[in-house]
Amino acid sequence: MPVKTIFETKIEHVSILDEHGSFDADLGAGLIPDEDVVAMYKHMMVCRHLDEIAFKLQRSGRMGTYPENRGQEVPPLAAAYVLQEKDWMVTCYRENAGLFWRGLPMEKILLHWMGDERGNHIDNCNVTPPAIAIGSQMLHATGLAWSSKYKKDGAIACTFFGDGATSEGDFHEAANFAANLDLPVVFVCQNNGWAISTPTKLECSAPTVAQRGIAYGMDCVQVDGNDIFAMVKVVRDAVKNARDNNRPTFIEALTYRLGDHTTADDARRYRDADELAMWEKRDPMIRLRKYLEDKDLWSSAQEEEQLAEASKIVTTVVKNAEEIEAPTSNDFFDCMYTDLSPQLQLQRDTMRTSSLGQDPSQVTIQPKEGAVQ
């Protein structure tokens, strides 16, 4: 046969709790224990409150540029919920809900955006600091997964990135390494419709972003990223595939950035009000609250109580972040290397780069005998 089909594939979309609150029991029943759903909802409330406060801190000059997470709580939270402690979560900067679930102290994130590297010094929860260079972190996740496979410690890596990030060459290389070397990585693309002002179709004009993964022979799937049930399901499958088979999966989570790109951005310049309004109705918290209330797992009273609790938590977090002692310039010298070279020590101790300033004794050095002078 001169023309024969040698490969066929398809992309599926998974949804369980849809934007109208209808719930698919076939897939969804028993997926997440009720108390966990409640716990996640409560957690999302705290995260969202922190997000609002962070925005205000920036606006009042108490913090630098901050990227709002609002609307994108579900994908990272679902992943954090599914992952084991030993696993790695390698994120970009809109995954607060997942990082906090894993135990990252909230003030770390505030400190980061307050221009303080101590926000990135993270103990014991196997997460990495915000990735400022878009696309850079997926390779680290692939390497971390590789290290686990090498050490046979059974851990996997789950990495998060935006739709825009899939345009970077590093995304391609990370996915290709993971697929070709059989590494346990879960790639989660948060397709939130935009990369700053650039719409997703300019980053990926294919019908789905999910099909990026076909290039590597990976399993790939698209999921409603505002649906905690669907998200948990697809991440669970992917994690299993990684842990049991050392195979990566590509997940496209459809979600939306309800705020501006960052506090330095004004999305009204490029984004239709209608689009925003439509997505506001799809807010993951609205449908989840409705679901819980319908099942009598949540009440207005609890909502108020949790709002108060969130406010209390966040107040403490902000206080901790703001009251940390000022960093000193020693910090950026001492942490360049694990050891300090004499040159760097001199710069640190004098806070000068000019040689006369560093070594005033030079002024009195005696010319060598016989020197031309």
Binding site: G64, T65, H112, W113, M114, G115, D116, E117, I132, A133, I134, G135, G164, A165, S167, E168, G169, D170, A195, I196, S197, T198, L202, E203, A264, D265, R269, Y270, A326, P327, S329, D331, F332, F333, M336, Q343, L344, Q347, R348, M351, R352, T353, S354, S355, L356, G357, P360, Q362, V363
Partner: protein
């Protein structure tokens, strides 16, 4: 004449060159409807349309590499990289491709493109938004590099860069995008690439700087009460050592000020060049006031890192006292 900020002068130069030459087109992340994250391309999408002001996918190597292809195809592309910290992914296409085509093909293929990149610290930005990598590209033959320190020079240098048949990096010191205004002629004019500017004349000491730190140098000079000559390189590659060495042969003393780390920074080249050209006139070793040999810290400490008036003043005093 209009009283413009540096970023407005850039915007004006882009408009005028696009009006004049239909081969000129822009590509970069968020430069279209959004007008660029610093608004340098504000209004251009509306004025020239989406064929000439093109929002590119989020891929710096792609931006640089397709710009090379556009230039090979006879156009005059002006790619933008959003912050100097994101030149990394474009490094290979920039240094191993754009910079090499002319010599690789012995003049057969040139790459007339102007890469615009905001540069430097001092604006309380996140990590990788405050670096000063100019020395790395100065060590790369095949590129020309300019960095204006004033609205007037910004317009004139950008026009020269766009018209230059070689690949030019146009670094835009973001700290002074809007720091002050200056009279800028409406008409087009060129500030020649390769010529430094003597900002003020003096007899006792020469300060060499470029970009945002020129402002700090001026302040330090004013406070010093000494007769100090300030040279703004404007062009970083090729360096105008003639102007520098004439000045140092006159003053006998020299301080170089830049934001980048000291080791292997441009200050080293200028110091070495001054020694070569002015050895017998030198009364003190050339002093370098620059970034430390560390990564630029996050913004809480960035002012500790950046050379400031105080550090410049000390170097002036010490060099004069030597």
């Amino acid at each position: 004449m209009a009283n413009l900020t540096l970023v407005q002068a850039i915007n004006l130069a882009l408009i005028q060159e696009m009006e004049k030459d239909s081969r000129v087109l822009l590509l970069g992340e968020d430069i279209g409807l959004n007008g660029g994250v610093f608004r340098a391309t504000e209004g251009l999408f509306q004025r020239f349309g989406g064929d000439r002001v093109v929002d590119a996918p989020l891929a710096e190597s792609g931006i640089m590499g397709t710009a090379i292809g556009l230039a090979m195809g006879g156009l005059r592309p002006i790619p933008e990289i959003q912050f100097e910290g994101f030149m990394g992914p474009a490094f290979d296409q920039l240094t191993n491709q754009a910079a090499r085509f002319n010599t690789r093909t012995r003049g057969g293929i040139t790459c007339p493109l102007t890469l615009r990149v905001p540069v430097g610290g001092g604006i309380h930005a996140p990590e990788l938004h405050s670096d000063s990598p100019e020395a790395i590209y100065t060590h790369t033959p095949g590129l020309k590099i300019v960095m204006p320190s004033s609205p007037y020079d910004a317009k004139g240098l950008l026009i020269s860069a766009i018209r230059d048949p070689n690949p030019v990096i146009f670094f835009e010191p973001k700290r002074i995008y809007r720091a002050f205004r200056e009279e800028v002629p409406e008409d087009e004019y060129m500030v020649p690439i390769g010529e430094a500017r003597t900002v003020c004349e003096g007899e006792e000491l020469t300060i060499v700087s470029w970009g945002a730190t020129v402002v700090q140098c001026m302040n330090a000079i004013e406070k010093s009460g000494k007769s100090i000559e300030l040279i703004d390189l404007r062009t970083i590659s090729p360096i105008d050592m003639d102007t520098v060495s004439k000045s140092v042969n006159k003053t006998g003393r020299c301080v170089v000020v830049h934001e980048a780390p000291k080791t292997c920074g441009l200050g080293a080249e200028i110091a070495a060049g001054v020694m070569e050209h002015c050895f017998l006139h030198l009364e003190a070793p050339v002093q370098r006031v620059c970034g430390f040999d560390t990564i630029m810290p996050y913004y809480k400490l960035e002012l500790d890192y950046l050379p400031d008036e105080q550090r410049i003043s000390k170097a002036i005093t010490e060099t004069l006292a030597y």
